[in-house]
């Protein structure tokens, strides 16, 4: 940990800590919503550790609570989580040489936040430090929030009255704002958002986000040939 603190700037560490705190808060809402939807306490606890991907967990809970088949809910969650494949292709090696458990754990802590913080750093040691710090932080904070949320879930009856559903998109938006450095990225992001919204009424949950990948084509045209 000492080397991580030396590698990362104070600003980056503070941002990662705040991101993990936000994840903890969203975990609270997730646990509360899961229990309010009729799941036993162990379910959000187990799912938060094993899946460790918030959007797909909300989606799974929502589909099953609405009467959907759990395997169909898993398929929808997998569609949402398919974005982790291009994440792995986009990032340089985050685990480095080491024992197999390191690679396994390094894969498991790949999430929206750890990827964004890694991409924001300039060189490989800083990217690795940001990735592991944020990834392990989320691995602790997300389940901790989910368990506490599930415990107090019976107290908070109506979670939407507290605006908890606005937290997840706000978190992701705050995370991608720094990546929207230039017009090309902004155009691609907006195009992707429009495609996903246009497709939402017609496609099953999870597919609109994947269809939005077509927006990447807008970045190719503008780039000079390598």
């Amino acid at each position: 940990m000492g080397s991580i603190y030396r590698t990362l700037s104070g600003g980056a560490l503070r941002d990662i800590a705040l991101a993990c705190l936000a994840v903890w808060f969203i975990g609270l809402s997730y646990g509360a919503i899961a229990v309010a939807s009729g799941f036993p306490l162990w379910f959000p606890a187990a799912q938060s550790v094993l899946v460790l991907a918030g959007a797909s967990e909300f989606l799974f809970i929502g589909i099953v609570a609405a009467g959907g088949n759990p395997l169909a809910a898993a398929a929808a969650g997998l569609l949402v989580n398919a974005r982790h494949l291009p994440y792995g292709l986009a990032l340089p090696d985050m685990t480095g040489p080491g024992r197999p458990w390191r690679r396994l754990l390094g894969s498991h802590v790949m999430n929206d936040e750890s990827v964004v913080f890694a991409l924001a750093q300039e060189d490989l040691p800083r990217k690795r430090a940001a990735y592991w710090t944020c990834g392990l932080g989320v691995l602790l904070c997300w389940p901790a929030g989910a368990v506490l949320g599930a415990l107090i879930g019976s107290v908070i009856g109506n979670t939407s009255a507290f605006g908890l559903d606005a937290m997840f998109p706000a978190v992701i938006l705050a995370l991608i704002v720094p990546a929207l450095r230039d017009r090309v990225m902004v155009r691609a992001a907006v195009t992707g958002a429009v495609i996903a919204l246009a497709a939402t009424p017609f496609l099953p949950a999870g597919l609109p986000e994947l269809l939005a990948l077509l927006a990447v084509l807008t970045t190719i045209r503008r780039r000079p040939t390598p």
Binding site: Y87, L119, I172, L197, F202, A212
Partner: protein, 107 residues
């Protein structure tokens, strides 16, 4: 839960599949040499996916519109993030805005 065994099967399917996605990306990257422009393209792909996720989770519920309160909260959060407000301020402002609007009767 109506059928605990089936729900657990769904949980394990989602867990294993998600781990496979996370594990395969770095492995494929090691096997195949990617030119720099491909890396840029994949970074753009990640941003596009997240932007689409913001749009769908911020504006829609099921296959329809989520109402005005949630998008308004996300918008306030987005403006604060753009103005470089602290992360927690962004997230709490989004939740508070949405909660206050709902309190005032906005759907």
């Amino acid at each position: 839960m109506k059928d605990p065994a089936l729900v657990v099967a769904g949980l394990l399917t989602l867990s294993a599949g998600t781990f496979a996605f996370r594990f395969c990306g770095p492995v494929l990257r090691q096997r195949i040499a990617f030119p720099p422009w491909a890396g840029k393209l994949l970074e753009a792909a990640a941003v596009v996916l997240l932007a689409a996720l913001v749009a769908t989770t911020g504006l829609t519920k099921g296959h329809g519109f989520a109402g005005f309160a949630r998008p308004a909260g996300v918008l306030i959060g987005g403006i604060l993030a753009w103005r470089k407000a602290p992360f927690l301020v962004v997230v709490l402002a989004a939740a508070v805005t949405t909660a206050v609007l709902r309190l005032l009767g906005v759907p």
